[in-house]
């Protein structure tokens, strides 16, 4: 039976267990003189039965469904005659897809070697068996769990405590999922990165100045060794992010200052949400705007001035990205500016300073650490942004600081290397994971630093 069908079945069983345990607890309580002689309300006995029924069964189901395919595939591959065993992971996946296509009936078995058709029937049989066994096991565990809970409906047992402890543990697991996600990111990306460094030395990756991930398709091909130097990617990323920050920091900061110090309440309450809309627009929309409107515009403008601009210029991507992160800078700076105590403002104004002098000489220096923290957060956003650069920046890894040239970024390369089918043991594919690791580390460091600065600053005035 399919996992998708088993899931509702387990839930139905849990509801049945709930109902049965509820009735049972009332039946137990009746001769004692009502439910107030039970240690817990009937609801808790029933809820405990439902939990006992569902949780173990769901765990077994999840584990089984997660590893079912891998295990079956391993057995099928092992069943092949030894001389046809695949030599590489790519070959293995090719054979496996052939086998599963035969099993699904979409490939005519007549033209295939016998060991493939044999494996296909084995695959089918295994899948059948696994499906049946899974269904039986899951239902059995659910029923056993419910039965156990049923026997434990007794007046002296405090079911409420059990239920509450279980719930608490479930809540804890949910909170710990964040740690699990981080661990998942670190381990999965880290392992692939290690495999990449087996092929390409880490020094070449970090300090190499040319990037062209095309590796040879065949061993006898010459001249397409592939170069994995990350420096042109990083300069490209930094160039675009720097342009973005050059737009976002002045615009965001000045509008935050105006809104918090000068604007009337009405203006503030209308302009602020409109500004925040900029942060809510999907990045693919910005990418579309950058690629189809801003980039051609800049190219034409440069042509009028007599300069030559690429149609995928870093400037276009940077400008649009800058607009996107304006609300980050402005809302974060708004927070820190309004956190500066009013007394400092009053003191400065009382001495005869104008509002702009108060702002520039008193409030801004006091808020500076927080503002820098906000800018760092915005920078980490800019570095990790993908869609705008995928659509508006180029693919060629040029080592240049000219904003009218086309550059590529770390995120663009990750996306292009991993879109479409790929085999998982080529340096080309693995390099995307190494880039991901680098991106993760850099943004993480920026964030940690920014949060530290912001927090330290906040403590000063609290």
């Amino acid at each position: 039976m399919q996992t998708a069908n088993l899931l509702p079945l387990v839930l139905v069983l849990a509801v049945v267990a709930y109902g049965l345990a509820y009735m049972r607890s009332r039946a137990v309580a009746a001769p004692l003189g009502g439910i107030r002689n039970l240690k817990a309300l009937p609801f808790y006995y029933a809820a405990r039965a439902a939990l006992w029924c569902a949780i173990p069964a769901l765990i077994v189901l999840a584990v089984w469904a997660g590893f079912e395919d891998k295990v079956i595939q391993g057995i099928v591959i092992a069943s092949l005659p030894p001389d046809t065993w695949p030599e590489s992971a790519g070959q293995a996946s090719l054979i496996l897809s052939q086998i599963s296509n035969v099993a699904a009936g979409s490939l005519n078995p007549e033209f295939l070697p016998e060991h493939i058709t044999g494996a296909a029937s084995l695959l089918e049989a295994m899948q059948d068996k696994s499906g049946n066994f899974k269904a039986i096991l899951v239902v059995l565990i659910a029923v056993l769990g419910a039965t156990f809970a049923w026997t434990r409906v007794a007046p002296h047992i405090n079911a409420r405590k059990n239920v509450e402890t279980t719930l608490r543990r479930i809540f804890f697991v949910c909170a710990a999922l964040a740690v699990l996600t981080t661990a998942g990111i670190v381990f999965s990306v880290f392992l692939e990165t290690l495999r990449f460094f087996d092929r390409v030395p880490i020094t070449e990756f970090l300090f190499g100045t040319s990037w062209s991930p095309q590796t040879a398709l065949r061993i006898d091909q010459i001249g397409s060794e592939g170069a994995f130097g990350v420096i042109p990617l990083f300069t490209g990323t930094l160039l675009i992010s720097a342009i973005a920050l050059l737009v976002a920091v002045p615009v965001g900061l000045l509008s935050a200052i105006y809104l918090s110090e000068y604007a009337s309440k009405r203006m503030r309450s209308t302009v602020k949400p409109v500004l925040e809309m900029l942060a809510g627009i999907p990045t693919v929309v910005y990418g579309f705007f950058a690629a189809l409107t801003v980039a051609p515009f800049i190219r034409d403008l440069a042509a009028i001035v007599g300069l030559e601009a690429s149609s995928q210029s870093a400037l276009a991507a940077g400008l649009v990205m800058g607009i996107m992160i304006v609300p980050f800078v402005s809302s974060l700076s708004d927070d820190v500016i309004s956190a500066v105590p009013q007394t400092m403002r009053d003191g400065s104004l009382a001495l005869g300073a104008t509002q702009s002098e108060t702002m520039k000489k008193v409030i801004f220096p006091a808020a500076l650490p927080g503002i820098i923290g906000g800018i760092l957060l915005a920078a980490s956003r800019a570095i990790g942004e993908t869609m705008i650069v995928v659509m508006a920046a180029g693919l060629a890894a040029n080592l240049t600081a000219n904003p009218l040239d086309s550059v590529t970024t770390v995120t663009v390369q990750i996306a292009t290397l991993l879109v479409g089918d790929q085999e998982f043991d080529s340096a080309k594919t693995l390099s995307a994971f190494a880039l991901g690791m680098l991106l993760f580390i850099v943004t993480l460091l920026l964030n940690v630093l920014a949060l530290k600065i912001v927090r330290k600053y906040r403590e000063q005035y609290d």
């Binding site: 590893f67 615009v251 302009v271 693919v284 607009i323 520039k360 993908t386 659509m391 943004t443």
Partner: protein
């Protein structure tokens, strides 16, 4: 005394300059706000001006005589005749009847180029469903080819290049005057999946794909996010583990979205062997991505419930769990819902991680389940925007308008919920 006067003098003299600086400073602020608002306005104006034509389709309506001799087909139910049948011939004949001056074979071929690539399959489908229509005359509406619709819609727009010869342009003008070629609301956009041909491409497949993906995301991230927030706010002991979890959540909120795509690729697809391009995997990845947002906003909502509520509940003998589940969570629910809707809106617009788990495939069929290949609205926009065919640009902008409409609705819902339900203590 004189000293003081001279100081006052200095101040008075400098006042003019200082006020000027003050005015300039204010002006900078206004300018900054103006730039931000103007870019938002330009962005919307650009998308609307590019995309409004995407809601219009160009069609040719013809009285087609389904002549069996012309099609080399005498029995539509006989599948063997299909491969050799010419379904296009009657359409061209009907078109030629409207443009009598195009008589030569070459000119007829030119006329045939007005039709969309799938015009003949429309006749074929019609005859499959209704074999009795053979040798009758039917009024049928065909989508025009991209070059005709570009000419009809964008003849005076320099950004489009017209790919019709002068002769063809004259014919199209004539057909337009006769009302044979006409424009109407593009219902195809909302009733079909993707296609290689702009005239046959729609966003329905992408919308359904987005809905399925969001369903998975919501089903996972909402309960898990709330449970995590409840644990951290109400139950978590003050220890290193709790601190570690909190730091993790805050950092995850700032991890670039494409990294979640790498995680999905490495864990769900490679490790667990889940299929590519399906809403389940997309939904899982987006759920992990939105989880921190939901946890953080739910914690804020729980924090805003005053302690007096908890104390009162505890005072009448409720257990800690009862206090939380019966009182705190229901009171915090509006805030939690608001945060979740905003998180879902973010997930709806997310593209990058879905590229990595294969949701960029070219998929014609409207997905019919959580495990069928699908694409989502933002990815569809990306695909169309990077297509070389001119007709897809306006479709991409039209799809952007659809996406933005969804997002505006979700955000409006969040604001409405907050205004309507949130209690100030």
């Amino acid at each position: 005394m004189t000293d003081q006067r001279s100081q006052a003098e200095i101040v008075r003299k400098s006042l003019k300059r200082r006020y000027r600086t003050e005015r300039r400073f204010r002006l900078y602020g206004i300018l900054a706000i103006f730039i931000a608002l103007a870019s938002l306005f330009i962005l919307f104006a650009d998308i609307i001006s590019k995309g409004h034509t995407g809601f219009v389709k160009t069609t040719i309506t013809l009285d087609v005589t389904l002549d069996s001799g012309m099609m080399y087909l005498d029995d539509p139910t006989d599948l063997d005749q299909w491969s050799s049948a010419d379904f296009k011939a009657p359409i061209i004949a009907a078109l030629q009847a409207q443009v009598p001056q195009a008589a030569s074979a070459a000119e007829k071929r030119e006329l045939g180029r007005f039709l969309g690539t799938f015009a003949d399959s429309e006749i074929r489908d019609l005859l499959t469903k209704n074999p009795e229509l053979l040798n009758t005359t039917q009024t049928i509406e065909f989508p025009t080819h991209d070059r005709v619709s570009v000419y009809v819609k964008h003849a005076d727009n320099p950004q489009y290049s017209i790919k019709l010869s002068e002769q063809q342009q004259l014919w199209v003008d004539e057909l337009l005057q006769k009302g044979i070629i006409d424009t109407s609301f593009n219902d195809v956009l909302f009733s079909r999946g993707d296609s290689r041909e702009p005239a046959n491409a729609g966003v329905l497949g992408a919308i359904v794909g987005s809905l399925l993906t969001m369903l998975v995301t919501l089903a996972i991230s909402f309960p898990v996010g709330i449970a995590a927030a409840v644990y951290l706010e109400e139950f978590a002991p003050q220890n290193k583990l709790t601190d570690f979890i909190e730091v993790n959540i805050n950092n995850l909120a700032a991890v670039p979205s494409i990294i979640f795509g790498l995680l999905g690729l490495a864990v769900f697809i490679n490790l667990f062997g889940m299929p590519r391009s399906v809403p389940v995997v997309g939904g899982l990845v987006l759920a992990l991505m939105t989880l921190p947002t939901i946890i953080i906003s739910s914690r804020a909502a729980i924090k805003s419930v005053p302690p007096s509520i908890r104390e009162a509940a505890e005072g009448v003998g409720a257990s800690k769990m009862q206090v939380v589940l019966h009182h705190v969570v229901p009171l915090a629910m509006p805030g939690m819902l608001t945060g979740s809707i905003i998180g879902m809106a973010q997930a709806l617009g997310e593209t990058a991680p879905l590229l990595l788990i294969g949701m960029v495939a070219f998929i014609v069929d409207v997905p019919d389940g959580l495990f069928s290949s699908a694409t989502v609205l933002p990815v569809q926009i990306y695909l169309w925007a990077s297509s070389s065919e001119q007709g897809f640009v306006e479709l991409a902008s039209a799809a952007i308008m659809v996406l933005l409409t969804f997002m505006i609705i979700m955000n409006a819902l969040a604001i409405w919920l907050r205004k309507r339900l949130e209690r100030r203590w």
